[in-house]
């Protein structure tokens, strides 16, 4: 049955405002990308600012520390992506096994809460909490004979702290998606498995996990787009002179060099670089998801 445009035109018309909004706010500003190739000065505008070709990109890669910064970003964000996928996945399955609804709900709310705290606040709390000088964590570790660990003042520990604290903050939020997927599993599958004599472990292994995999692939694919976002507000609030080598990421670097200096061209160039990398990754991941999980958006 072919849709009849004469009958559905009011629907198309109603779509127009949203479409116009999309074009005005999402597509027209794309023109601003030209700033990445200009020494952009606001008062000279787009016609007046001089073109400098790939100058900003050269500046980005010519700095002695730029590879280090990109590497830091990748390491931190890859680990964040992996653990922000695995932890909620496992946690949702475990939570699903808890049969007392009230308990499930309470736990779910509690792990969800940190998501709403800002890193400005959490940064201050973490500095106190992880202090080598009487901080809670180090006192507990001290009691079992583990010497004070400089969580925030040693490069490798800093990365560890940043990744773990981010996973701690966000895994409750990620769990929600998986719990929703769990609720959609056809109960008759479990009934059938029980009839066949499968225990809870076998049911989890052969029904729950395979049913959740497509959702995990979707979440993973989407988060790949963030591979060059290692979490500006978190790192900015926690980093310091001692961990610059291993903690400085693209976003903090752009903040210092471009935003503080009003250097819009450079900020745009880095943003464009990040977007291109993200797009390539998303396209690849989408292809893979399409091929192996039969996941499709379009």
């Amino acid at each position: 049955m072919k849709p009849d445009i004469r009958r559905t035109w009011p629907l198309h018309l109603m779509l127009l405002p949203a479409l116009a909004g999309l074009i005005v706010f999402n597509y027209v500003p794309l023109g601003g990308i030209v700033m990445a190739f200009m020494d952009y000065k606001p008062w000279l505008g787009f016609d007046g600012s001089p073109w400098i070709g790939f100058g900003h990109f050269r500046a980005l890669f010519e700095r002695e520390d730029s590879l280090q910064v990109i590497w830091n970003t990748l390491v931190i964000s890859v680990f964040k992506i992996i653990f922000n996928l695995l932890v909620p996945f496992g946690f949702a399955i475990l939570l699903n096994e808890v049969r007392i609804r009230l308990l499930t709900r309470t736990i779910q709310t509690m792990v969800y809460l940190p998501h709403f705290l800002s890193w400005v606040i959490l940064g201050g709390i973490l500095v106190n909490f992880l202090s080598t000088d009487g901080g809670f964590v180090n006192r507990v570790l001290g009691a079992i004979g583990i010497g004070p660990i400089p969580f925030l003042m040693h490069g490798d520990w800093f990365r560890f702290t940043v990744i773990v604290s981010d996973v701690w903050k966000e895994f409750g939020y990620g769990t929600i998606v998986f719990l929703a997927a769990l609720a959609n599993i056809d109960p008759s599958l479990y009934e059938a498995a029980e009839v066949d004599g499968a225990g809870r472990w076998k049911q989890t292994l052969h029904i729950t996990i395979p049913s959740l995999l497509p959702m995990a692939i979707v979440v993973g694919t989407l988060s790949l787009g963030n591979i060059l976002n290692a979490g500006f507000d978190q790192i900015f609030n926690l980093y310091n002179g001692m961990v610059m080598n291993k903690g400085d990421i693209i976003d903090t670097f752009v903040y210092r060099t471009a935003i503080l200096e009003g250097n819009f061209g450079f900020a745009t160039a880095v943003g464009l670089f990040k977007s291109v990398v993200s797009m390539v990754l998303i396209v690849c991941a989408y292809r893979l998801a399409y091929k192996y999980a039969n996941y499709r958006v379009f």
Binding site: L13, M14, E64, D65, D133, M242
Partner: protein, 583 residues
């Protein structure tokens, strides 16, 4: 039939949505092209009003006269401006920034009509953003605008939309203003282009962020300690605080000296730069050398000795174990909690945050002390320029001299009024003061309807401030004088109890403040290299203090700094410094 009805409904809905969209677009378009105010129809109408006003003004101005300057303009002239309104600013009697007691005063007393092109509540940098948009869309600039943001000021000056003001200042500013400006001729530096003064610096009270040491006097007294004159004395004080603590704190609880350097070694509170000062340099800024050139303070040989000192202090536990993680506000925490003995900070700190110490330790007493000297008798702290932005005058302003009529009046009558003069007890009755039935002045909440901060209603932020007026008033109070002038009364009422004494201590070392001598727009190399250079500096310095690198790494850092663009940057900075000398 029913089907038709439904169709009509949806068609009507679509039409309504479309109409909304069109009107929304139209609205934003109008807002963008005229004043960006969107829904502010008063602003739009006032902007059109201002056009006609300035045209009227120009026909007046064409009348032949020797000097256009008047003490009062008749018929009135118009100055257009734009406002970033402090979100905390309040109005009364239904007034607005466009029309209030100060704008009416200007019209009645000086014959100057202040026309507002637009105003915006200045949260999240709204003012800067709006100015940048205005600049980007090529709109007519206001006659007069005061800008606090340094980068925006440089951009506006370089846009060529604003005129040279130095000659106007020389011709029209009165003696009081000129004297205030002459206190530090370098206040003009940032706004000089090729020897021409392009903006009038907005003067503010001096020494606001020049720090001194705050020390727990009750601890000093109980231990019978003398005021520390040198770093060695200070070490003895810190040792006594730590191991003989009068409040019975165990050594690992006490933080003898609360400092931090999370982002920088040179800031306004809890800052270690005076340790560098004791060795003849201030880090992370451009200092004037004896040859009259500018040098980046962190590569000075004295910095190496300062780092050795800081490392020793850290090893002995005199400074916080995690100082590398602490920013300014964090350093105040142990001070307020009563476990810190010394904290560097500005003279007004007894008001905030140190006043809160009494809540935790009732017997705690903080007293200000001078900055101790190093082994060679040198002492230093970072100094602050006493400007708070810049006032720019548009190229197209019809009556640039009217700004001077306005400001001259404020410098004469508002900046530091004599007892008994016109604005001695207050400026606008019913706004910043009122009279009770006996004719005595009342302030604050005693004013019917509450007080408002009229100093933010002036065309130039805070009206007129003479940089040393506040310090001089504080010194008079420190000598036990009863407050007489308005400034003295304000200080007595609004500042912490130790502030006059702190001012005296501060001014006992007038020559040790190192002001960052570079205040121009960032040079090309600076744009590309400064962040990297600062990063390796922060990293090297922190790691040296924490013993992860040997002190000899400092020499390698200096070489690295020079070859990675530092030398080039120094050259450019000195070229800039050369051209600020007014031709």
């Amino acid at each position: 039939m029913r089907r038709g009805m439904r169709k009509w409904w949806s068609a009507a809905l679509v039409l309504a949505l479309a109409a909304m969209l069109v009107s929304a677009c139209g609205g934003s378009k109008n807002g963008g092209s005229s004043d960006g105010g969107g829904t502010q129809s008063p602003a739009t109408s006032s902007s059109s009003g201002s056009n006609s006003g300035s045209e009227a003004g120009s026909s007046d101005g064409s009348r032949p006269t020797d000097s256009p300057y008047r003490d009062k303009y008749d018929p009135p002239v118009t100055i257009t401006t734009v406002w970033g309104i402090d979100p905390a600013l309040t109005f009364k009697n239904g007034e607005t920034i466009e029309n209030n007691v100060a704008t009416r005063w200007a019209l009645e007393t000086l014959g100057i009509r202040i026309e507002t092109l637009w105003s915006v509540t200045d949260t999240n940098n709204a003012f800067v953003t709006k100015m940048r948009l205005m600049m980007a869309s090529g709109q007519q600039m206001p006659d007069v605008v005061t800008v606090g943001d340094e980068q925006l000021a440089h951009d506006l000056i370089d846009s060529g939309l604003f005129r040279e003001v130095g000659t106007l200042f020389d011709a029209y500013a009165n003696e009081k203003w000129k004297q205030a400006m002459a206190l530090d001729p370098h206040v003009w530096d940032p706004y000089i282009r090729n020897g021409q003064r392009m903006g009038i610096p907005v003067l503010d009270y001096a020494y606001n962020h020049d720090y001194l040491l705050w020390i727990r006097q009750d601890w000093m007294d109980k231990l019978g300690l003398e005021a520390p004159k040198t770093l060695d004395d200070l070490e003895k004080v810190m040792e006594a605080f730590k191991y003989n603590n009068p409040d019975g704190l165990s050594p690992d609880q006490v933080i003898p000296l609360s400092i931090g350097f999370k982002n920088t070694f040179n800031t306004w509170m809890g800052d270690p730069s005076w340790v560098f000062g004791a060795f003849g340099t201030i880090p992370e800024q451009w200092n004037l050398t004896s040859e009259g050139t500018l040098e980046w303070g962190s590569i000075h040989p004295g910095a190496k000795q300062a780092l050795e000192t800081l490392k020793r202090w850290r090893d002995k536990g005199y400074i916080p174990a995690e100082a590398a993680l602490w920013d300014e506000n964090k350093t105040a925490e142990p001070a307020v909690a009563g476990v810190a003995g010394i904290i560097p900070g500005p003279y007004w700190m007894s008001g905030w945050p140190l006043q809160d110490t009494a809540k935790n330790v009732p017997h705690a007493v903080w007293k200000p002390y001078p900055i101790p000297a190093g082994p060679d008798g040198k002492a230093g702290r970072h100094g602050t320029r006493f400007t708070n932005g810049v006032t720019l005058i548009s190229k197209d302003a019809k009556h640039p001299e009217a700004l001077f009529t306005y400001q001259n009046y404020l410098f004469e009558h508002l900046a530091d009024p004599e007892p008994g003069s016109q604005w001695d007890i207050g400026v606008f009755k019913g706004y910043d003061y009122d009279l009770d039935e006996n004719g005595n002045p009342v302030y604050g909440d005693d004013i019917p309807g509450g007080a408002v901060n009229i100093n933010r209603y002036w065309l130039v932020r805070d009206g007129a401030r003479i940089p040393d007026a506040q310090m001089k008033a504080l010194l008079r109070l420190a000598d036990g004088k009863e407050p007489e002038t308005r400034l003295e009364k304000e200080l007595k009422n609004n500042y912490g109890p130790e502030t006059p004494l702190a001012a005296k201590v501060l001014l006992s070392q007038p020559d040790i403040s190192y002001i960052d001598m570079f205040s121009g727009p960032p040079t090309p190399t600076m744009k590309e290299r400064l962040d990297y250079l600062k990063k390796i500096e922060l990293q090297t310095f922190s790691e040296i203090i924490y013993g992860q690198r040997s002190i000899d790494e400092f020499d390698r850092f200096v070489e690295n700094w020079k070859s990675s663009g530092g030398d080039q940057m120094t050259k450019e900075v000195n070229e800039w410094f050369e051209q600020t000398k007014v031709k």
